[in-house]
């Protein structure tokens, strides 16, 4: 909603991620690259929209490691660069990042890690603060959009000054929080740099040279600890400075803490850390020495807590350090204001500002009557058709899924995912299951994920003469994160025409001799292709190719075409419920007497027509049939 390019001095309501993008533009950004991943995606989305106008370069890279290598090369060329990734994306990039800390940079470089406590949109809750210490990268943790923008801008200057990339670590509630942000001056540009070696061995990380650079890295971090970590704006005090009860916190936990203090009127002295690696040990020690008790408020691991405990040993051995290790705060899932209130209650025995037991009693009674509504595949989603065909054609196979919307095919009635693990893992795990068992093995992978990490595992399968079937569900976009282009699409992240890498050609060139491309909306053809693929003695690939339905609908609307839903003919519907039990489109409504289609949900694709044994699903005047009319393929 906010205008990312609004002039200096104006106030815009920005998402935390948009604020990071703006901070980069104010910090003189030249080159940015990333692979989309929730909750980091909107940083790239924002840059992708303005890149051409501002003159910077932005790409959606094939994966996070490539994005890191692209941007670190830009930083080595004296340019300012940015890459951003979700927490698990950092795992992919980490091979490049660990050694980058030794190499250092010339131009300022910022690496954003957006963590996802609560695993809202992720496969785990990993806490990437450990990476900062483990790699040796200074880490800043903003608590909201304004700080996200400031920290990013300042990080570029600091990175360039100390010649080391700076890490910004956010969490979902920082990245996906919208708030007013006061803007500064945009200094980004599309200038070119020069690759100049500061010393002949700067970028040659081998034995003796790496050993030297490791030592140098530690010295840099010591300087940053003294010169940066202990100072404003990265270290701030709030609350009542005379209190002997203290709280140390950072990130969005700080916002929850302030809210809890406001609601209860508790007098506490609050230390908010903005730089959480390296930690300003002396300042923390001074803070502790005036206290009798300190509560550490942080999500996920007791990262600050164990470090504060160690500092307390030297500076204030009598202070009680309370947190996760003492059972005052939970170790899993994201925090809310209530979490902090409960922690304060355990520490101080406070009275709650609202009646939690009464709220819990009332709401649990009501919630028992509310059916769960987990995310499901959208109406018209081509993956639903692929799942339908897979269930019919390969019901007994071991199904190995991957990361993407199609992970939802683990749900009833499809149940064609036994595993969802990591990007590209479907094909790798299928390799192993084929070695370890004698069952049919099917890997399911999306187009963007295939480019990201699927190709090496497919090469592995061909080379080792595996017998397995890979379904590449090519919906022409990176759908789950909000439709970013990928190497297989005709446009790039800046909206320019790009070379679309053809998945079928890639697969054939690897040496797969069974390759079929089908429209998943053609249920018979898809089922037949899968049956044949399973019979093939070797690696077989079926590419189910049809654009994400949300893109199709958006295009139809843009073209001014009316979306006319299908309907169920009550004369023909026998209430056999085959449609619900095998296809389960969210537009189907079970009335108890027959099945209806909710016209507010149906996209009018017509794929379900094939599912009804009594031909009871019929078009209305103006309904399209996406399969027959070749819409979306």
């Amino acid at each position: 909603m906010g205008d990312l390019l609004a002039p200096e001095g104006s106030v815009e309501v920005l998402l935390g991620n948009e604020a990071i993008a703006r901070g980069a533009l104010e910090g003189g950004l030249n080159v940015a690259a990333a692979y989309p991943g929730t909750p980091s995606t909107e940083i790239g989305e924002a840059l992708s929209k303005v890149a051409k106008k501002v003159g910077i370069y932005f790409e959606w890279s094939a994966n996070e490691k490539v994005a890191t290598e692209v941007t670190m090369a830009a930083a080595w060329s004296g340019l300012r660069s940015l890459t951003m990734m979700k927490h698990v994306g950092f795992n992919v990039a980490s091979d490049a990042i660990f050694t980058l800390a030794y190499a250092g940079v010339i131009g300022g470089m910022v690496i954003v890690s957006a963590d996802d406590p609560h695993a809202h949109s992720s496969q785990n809750e990993q806490d990437n603060r450990h990476y900062a210490e483990s790699v040796g990268l200074p880490m800043l943790e903003p608590y909201g959009p304004q700080e996200a923008k400031e920290f990013t801008r300042i990080a570029f200057d600091l990175s360039e000054k100390y010649r080391i990339p700076f890490m910004i670590r956010t969490t979902t509630r920082v990245s996906h929080q919208r708030a007013p942000v006061r803007l500064g001056k945009i200094t980004a540009s599309g200038k070119k740099g020069e690759f100049v070696l500061p010393e002949p061995d700067r970028y040659l990380q081998v034995g003796a040279i790496a050993r030297k650079h490791h030592k140098e890295l530690l010295e840099k971090l010591d300087r940053i600890r003294e010169e940066v970590a202990a100072k404003d704006p990265f270290l701030k005090f709030y609350g009542d400075e005379d209190s002997d009860f203290g709280i140390i916190t950072s990130g969005v936990s700080f916002a929850h803490t302030m809210e809890a203090l406001k609601l209860t009127g508790i007098k506490a002295k609050v230390l908010k850390l903005g730089m959480t690696f390296p930690l300003p040990e002396e300042r923390i020690g001074d803070f502790l020495s005036g206290l009798s008790t300190v509560l550490i408020v942080e999500e996920l691991d007791p990262y600050l807590e164990v470090r504060v405990k160690a500092i307390a040993k030297d500076y204030a051995p009598d202070v009680d350090v309370l947190g996760k290790l003492t059972g005052h705060m939970p170790r899993v899932w994201e925090y809310r204001v209530r979490t902090v209130l409960e922690g304060l209650s355990k520490a101080l025995g406070i009275k709650y500002p609202v009646n939690f037991p009464e709220i819990d009693r009332r709401s649990s009674k009501v919630l028992k009557r509310v059916p769960p509504r987990p995310p499901v595949l959208c109406p018209a989603c081509p993956h639903r058709s692929t799942g339908y065909a897979l269930r019919r054609a390969a019901g007994r196979a071991y199904f190995v899924g991957d990361i993407g919307c199609y992970a939802l095919l683990f749900q009833k009635p499809f149940r064609v995912e036994h595993v969802t693990h990591a990007m590209g893992a479907s094909i790798g795990v299928a390799n192993g299951l084929n070695i370890a068992t004698e069952n049919d093995v099917v890997a399911l992978i999306g187009d963007s994920t295939f480019f990201h990490a699927g190709i090496p595992a497919l090469i592995n399968a061909v080379h080792n003469k595996r017998k397995m079937t890979v379904i590449i569900m090519d919906n022409r976009t990176t759908a789950m994160t909000g439709h970013q282009p990928h190497p297989g699409t005709e446009v790039d992240a800046m909206g320019q025409q790009a070379e679309a890498v053809d998945i079928e050609k890639v697969v054939r060139s690897i040496g797969v001799d069974f390759v079929k491309v089908v429209d998943p909306y053609d249920h018979k053809a898809t089922e037949k292709a899968i049956r044949e693929a399973l019979k093939h003695d070797g690696v077989s690939v079926v590419i189910t190719k049809r654009e994400c339905a949300l893109l199709t609908v958006a295009r139809l609307r843009r073209e001014g075409k009316k979306i006319v839903p299908y309907r169920v003919d009550p004369e023909k519907c026998t209430y056999c419920r085959v449609c619900l039990n095998t296809f389960a489109c969210p537009a189907f409504v079970d009335t108890g007497k027959l099945v209806e289609i909710d016209p507010t949900v149906c996209f009018g694709c017509g794929a379900c027509v094939q599912v009804c044994p009594y031909d009871a699903i019929v078009p209305q005047e103006g309904s399209l049939n996406w399969r027959d009319e070749r819409i979306g393929v």
Binding site: M1, V13, T38, P39, T41, H120, S121, G144, R173, H176, Q177, R178, A179, P180, V252, A255, H256, M258, E259, K262, R336, V337, R338, L341, V354, N355, F356, I359, D360, R362, S363, V366, L367, R369, V370, P371, P372, R373, P375, V376, L377, C378, P379, C405, A407, L408, Q411, K412, P413, M480, T481, G482, L580, A584, P586, F588, V589, D590, T600, V601
Partner: protein
Amino acid sequence: MELEEFNIIVSGVGGQGILFATNVLAKAALKMGLDLTQSEVHGLSQRYGSIHTELRIGKKVWSPLILEGTLDLLIAIEPLEALRMAPYISERTTVIMNTHIIPPVGAYLERFDVPDLDEILSLMSELNPKKVITLKASELAEKAGDVIATNSVMLGAADGSGALPFPDGLLREALEEASPPRYRDLNLRAFDLGREAVRV
């Protein structure tokens, strides 16, 4: 303006334009010079699952998440998703609810007996909200030209309910500015129908 805090949730099913509606409310709050924080959902969890956004406005708001029991206004574009917000609802909550139920397809597969509107309203009353306003927002959106404008109908209803701390015309103006040109007229028609439907 001196407003300590006003907490709003917009809830519904992914795809109902919940985020857009919340953005319009935030835009109006900003026009009044209020502080605000808004929490929203992106990524996998928005695919036709239950979704809600939280918007807090006031003199100074810290946490982006609303404390249980302190909701002032619930705008529910789908009635089951109104009930799901139960922990937030209390005596201070005004509930504005679209009556069009979208039963989750999973409920059928799990043999879950989905409550009808009467039961939903009776369950809602057990939470003691200040006021419950219902309207046929999906039908009104269809009347305005397209069911995708249901969110704008709900914004109109919120505006007409008098529950919002905004002066007359401000929310409509924010909607007009936030709407893409292609949808501007549709959204405003829908807003007016929603506003009309709840005005006493």
